[in-house]
Symmetry: C2
Subunit: 278 residues, 2 copies
């Protein structure tokens, strides 16, 4: 094994053949079964790679970058080299073969090993739980909003989308590396949250309590809280709702029937963030 280059200037072209076995294997990480077997996934584009390098360098296995992208995102590559990560200069065809959404730079990252117990041992005060959220863009947007609102963890329950799906990774805009995201059945997650002293609120239009009103006013939601958000089409089932300490609805002041999942989640999470800091 040769020494790693210390600076972006020292990189030499390593991968030229988009049909090389290694490149084919990396490209296969677009598929769920390959990701699951390898325990690795792809992070496409400069923003995601930057956040992976900055926040989870120990999980970054390899970075593939084109000469053009290297010129545009020299800081990302310099940070990666400073962290002693493997950066491979590759042709446009090679990076394109790995992912058509890479914008010239893509990282292979190891799946997180966080468990629900690890997460709750940190005594989080704000947690987002996604139950049966199927759409990758929705899940990623909620994770990004949870990060912005200062949530310390996200739990994916039920048949929620695979967090290492490239579309989810992209739509988190890097938040994937900012807070732990773990998977657990909803009933187990709620039991563990309760054991950790965390109040479980389900966000649903059928809620008895209105956000900001009696039972869900600032003073009520200032406690450590986990918000449960349901499927984008059908919301939460009666069984799921029954697990929560309280079902909370967002007030609808106009004539819309409801908010969409990501906007509803943002309103709830920011209400908690505000109440917890009041």
């Amino acid at each position: 094994m040769t020494g790693r280059p210390a600076s972006p200037d020292d990189l030499t072209l390593t991968f030229e053949n988009p049909r090389a076995e290694r490149i084919k294997k990396v490209a296969q990480l677009a598929g769920r079964s390959a990701r699951s077997r390898a325990g690795q996934f792809l992070v496409e584009g400069p923003q995601g790679v930057r956040e992976a390098v900055a926040c989870a360098p120990a999980r970054v296995r390899d970075i593939y970058v084109t000469a053009d992208a290297l010129a545009r995102h020299r800081d990302v590559v310099a940070d990666a080299l400073a962290a002693e990560l493997w950066v491979h200069l590759a042709t446009d065809a090679v990076v394109q073969a790995i992912s058509s959404d890479a914008q010239g730079i893509v990282a292979v990252v190891q799946t997180s090993g966080d468990s629900l117990d690890d997460v709750l041992a940190q005594q989080p005060r704000l947690v987002a739980v996604l139950s049966n959220v199927r759409d990758p863009g929705n899940a990623g947007t909620v994770i990004r909003a949870a990060d912005a609102a200062g949530a310390q963890a996200v739990i994916l329950a039920g048949e929620s989308v695979d967090i290492t799906n490239p579309k989810v990774v992209r739509s988190t805009a890097g938040s994937l590396f900012h807070l732990p995201i773990v998977r657990a059945p909803l009933a187990d997650a709620v039991a563990a949250l309760h054991d950790a002293g965390i109040t479980v609120l389900a966000a649903d239009g059928s809620g008895d309590a209105e956000l900001g009103g009696e039972g869900a006013a600032d003073e009520d939601i200032a406690v450590p809280t986990a918000w449960v958000f349901g499927n984008e089409a059908w919301g939460l089932t009666a069984d799921e709702l029954a697990l929560a300490d309280l079902v909370v609805r967002i007030p609808i002041y106009g004539r819309a029937e409801s908010l969409n999942l990501a906007t509803a989640a943002s309103v709830c999470l920011y209400a908690s963030a505000r109440a917890q800091r009041a």
Copy 2:
């Protein structure tokens, strides 16, 4: 012209030929130039058609429905007939030729004739302004959130997406018919909003004031307010920001760089809704 049927049971099959000139013309409304020429657009699917019939019946020109969709959404058709609208029973092939996203029912609706002056004459207390919002899904989601938060109008400025684009129409989930949506250059809109005594707040990560903090606390934003939201990728330009009375940032408590457009808009609009009702 024969009499209109009074009940869904009286409907007989009217359109069987997906290649009929009339059906071709309706299908062309998927394109912007045809919509602009005709002053009409398509509303696809039961939810949108229901809201058009309920909230803007005078603008509904025709409804095309398959036998299956009629059975599933009998209430929508009954309401349309009660409002003396033209409902045409058509074959699956005909409705499919009009739109592949119709779910069996599609309406041809006249473009709204609302003007900025009409809207401001109603003395709205909460307005959402979208400047250069290009993505149809984003625009629709913000319109839906504005409706939910009780905004009384939406203004589309700059190169924002065409509101009659089928993807925008779908993603508003009917809110398109709940509040007036008008188009105006941003500088004209801001001048008119000021003349109407409405404070103009720009939502931007560069803001001097933090939402909920000094200058943008509940007591500050309880006044009649218009929020300006910028392009999904680059936000608001310096020129756009300079038009606002105050630039307000949403607090970021975690490590996310920002919120996405629709989630940011929801947090701002609900903050105003709450403050105005406190």
